[in-house]
Symmetry: C2
């Protein structure tokens, strides 16, 4: 196996194909990932718990087994708000130190049923919320990897594992993906079964994927959706792309503005129909409705912990809960209704183009690790329940990645993947 | 206290008021409920686990305490798919025998924060699904209490506890309430925080309440919604009531048909405007869309258990899971979209009257305890996310209760409570 020194750099799709062809073993892949983690994680800190021996044993089992699922032998990372029967699930909170759930979360079980191997648990902000873990951006250890799926972004970005699960209530999957130079994908709300994922705000919580290739995103999407994986979706013609700067445009740093302008220009050159979109009236109020809903739901989601152990929550989480408990049902429902109405209008709006091109993040990953970055560009689409993907197409002034974001109407995953593939190739030229 | 021999028959509202007035102690109330359980539960079998000593200790604490929440000293029953930190949560499945979650579910913590006392866990069908527990209807031990919230219906119906939590994915709260002669209420989907409640099918799962009085339903609704409890909602004028027989009318037994006809006639006599409604086109297809969504989601909700321990699921649950895993994403999304479109149309339809009057159940509780009854009259409104209440207003040929059902548009709880109060009084005349 020594002629294949970088098995940890393979994508999930390449691992499945290589195992099928007998080019290497699942054990060698898992070992390569564990070696990378061993070499790097002292600095990066992407993992809370590793399943090293069990993962190697499962890899050897896969190598011996005649049955091959679509994720046969693929090592994955699982954000530590997602239940795993073999490893503790600690939620980024001392309240769950060493806690071991009785069964795997649905998304973990579905991946294992398809042949995947859980390599370990990746770090998370406290309850996928505000207090970030001590994880560092693998591309610049002085910066945040983003959050709250900090460890999943860092682990995939640092070649420790090809795919990791994230969750996104605001911007917790796409932002770490953008900061760590990989792909972040959040499907339509409700696409992946949420059982075994600690809820944060149930109107927005969405399981997502972080990976290095579109092939891998599509592969896992199909497995988690209950579809047989097929070849990557492709467009039959050049896409119509709508550029939406949003009311947050002024919060973007120059590198994000440049990324969007550059992408729009080069995609037009490549043959896309690119048009400037105006946000529908009321779009700029979505952010404040989200604050109401998020606080109301977050407080009640932590009612069990709050009732008996509130002193063990971070000061910021306590503050969020206090604010949330003070919101009454009338204000909550008014915000829910406003967003629902908007969501339905956005189906038609988004359907006017093949995909919307919009900033993924304000810019490069911020310096320091105490602040995981601004979620507002990502959370607009989370609250609208639209499928959205961040592609690491550009760089900022420090040479660090700056993602762009593509959005499709609800349930428009197939179209989104096809456009993303076209965009990726269009920007490579 | 001996001059108050039936403290177990008090409503939650009466308990709170009596404690405030110093007429009895919380300890005496809890003791009376425990004595009732001790006397009757050998036959009824409503409880899986009792918290007797801790509940008495908490009652004494409430009696000593200066702070009074809106549920001060009220004993409650909690369906055993809902997490409790003090008692095991066993899901009606051997897979969770003795399992102890680390924290209370949100709804349990919110009730305890308001002063309630968890008396114990009530029986449930396996994962709130198909295999009913060995619970008997307290009004006729030869019959089912309904399901899947079997123990909650039986415990409230048998004066063991004033209020108990149920969950409803199809008809699991309103049906046992109707069969046991008490009130069942399911709010608008999403109204009560679902954290700590084992999911069955996430598009439909709704926490609900079983109680003996409308006052108690409103009291708990306010607490779980984050509102300060107020006086019961009342109408300022006689309501407009629409009678909807639905495409399932032919499945109703004579006692249900008679109950609806009688209620319609007497409410008109009492001054209501009563009109016959025709279901909108497509309404009769909701049932089959529900089957698709329910099976798809149920299978994936149990993926963790299925992956490693499927042999410990009941044969019927295994069958449901197998069917569910065979459903692909396209069929699932088509059903989701069809129901979503219908749901939005029904908002306006339901808004044309103050409430819809419709059968709650096909008739009296069926004989035997192996079949918990037909959920279809209840599940129509669960899948539409509409708030709905079953009132035990009528009786069948065996002298057993037959409920009627009132439905309001989504988020129309205040109106629904006011109409229900008017209807309850109108039918008393």
């Amino acid at each position: 196996m020594s002629q294949l020194p970088e098995l940890n750099r393979l994508s999930a799709t390449e691992i499945v194909a290589g195992l099928e062809q007998g080019r290497f073993t699942a054990e060698a892949v898992v070992r390569a990932c564990l070696e990378r983690i061993d070499a790097r994680d002292g600095e990066v800190g992407a993992w809370v718990a590793l399943n090293a021996e069990a993962a190697l044993a499962q890899a050897r089992e896969r190598d011996r087994s005649g049955t091959r699922g679509p994720l046969h032998g693929v090592p994955i990372g699982v954000k530590d708000v997602i239940d795993t029967a073999e490893l503790p699930t600690q939620m980024g909170s001392p309240l769950y130190a060493g806690w071991q759930p009785p069964f795997d979360a649905s998304c973990v079980a579905l991946a294992r049923m398809a042949g995947a191997i859980v390599l370990g648990k990746t770090t998370t902000a406290e309850f996928a919320g505000v207090a970030p873990p001590a994880t560092r951006n693998p591309l610049d250890l002085g910066r945040t990897p983003g959050g709250s799926s900090s460890g999943s972004g860092a682990a995939v970005g640092d070649w420790m594992v090809p795919v990791a699960y994230g969750t996104q209530t605001g911007g917790s999957t796409l932002r770490p993906a953008s900061f760590c130079g990989v792909i972040g994908f959040k499907p339509t709300f409700g696409s992946y079964n949420p059982v075994g994922v600690k809820p944060a705000a149930e109107s927005f919580d969405t399981l997502g994927l972080i990976a290095r290739t579109l092939d891998d995103i599509e592969l896992f999407h199909d497995v988690l959706s209950g579809d047989a994986p097929g070849p990557g979706r492709r467009l039959e013609r050049a896409p119509r792309i709508g550029v939406l700067r949003t009311h947050l445009w002024d919060t973007a740093q120059p590198e994000t503005m440049a990324a969007i302008e550059d992408a729009a220009a080069r995609l037009a050159q490549a043959g896309a129909t690119v048009e400037e979109l105006t946000a529908p009236a009321g779009f700029d109020q979505l952010t404040s409705h989200r604050v109401t809903i998020n606080a109301y739901e977050r407080a009640r989601s932590l009612a069990g912990e709050w009732h008996t152990r509130r002193e063990a929550l971070s000061a910021r989480m306590q503050h969020i809960c206090e604010n949330g408990f003070a919101i009454g049902r009338a204000d909550y429902i008014a915000a829910l209704r406003a967003i629902e109405n908007f969501r339905l209008r956005m189906d038609a709006y988004l359907d006017g183009v093949d995909a919307v091109l919009t900033p993924a993040v304000p810019g490069e990953a911020p310096l320091g690790i105490d602040y995981a970055g601004d979620p507002r560009f990502q959370e607009l689409w989370t609250l609208l329940h639209a499928p959205t993907i961040a592609l690491p197409t550009h760089q900022g002034p420090s040479g660090l990645p700056v993602g762009i974001q593509l959005v499709a109407p609800r349930y428009g995953e197939a179209r989104l993947f096809a456009v993303a593939r076209w965009v990726e190739q269009g920007l490579r030229k």
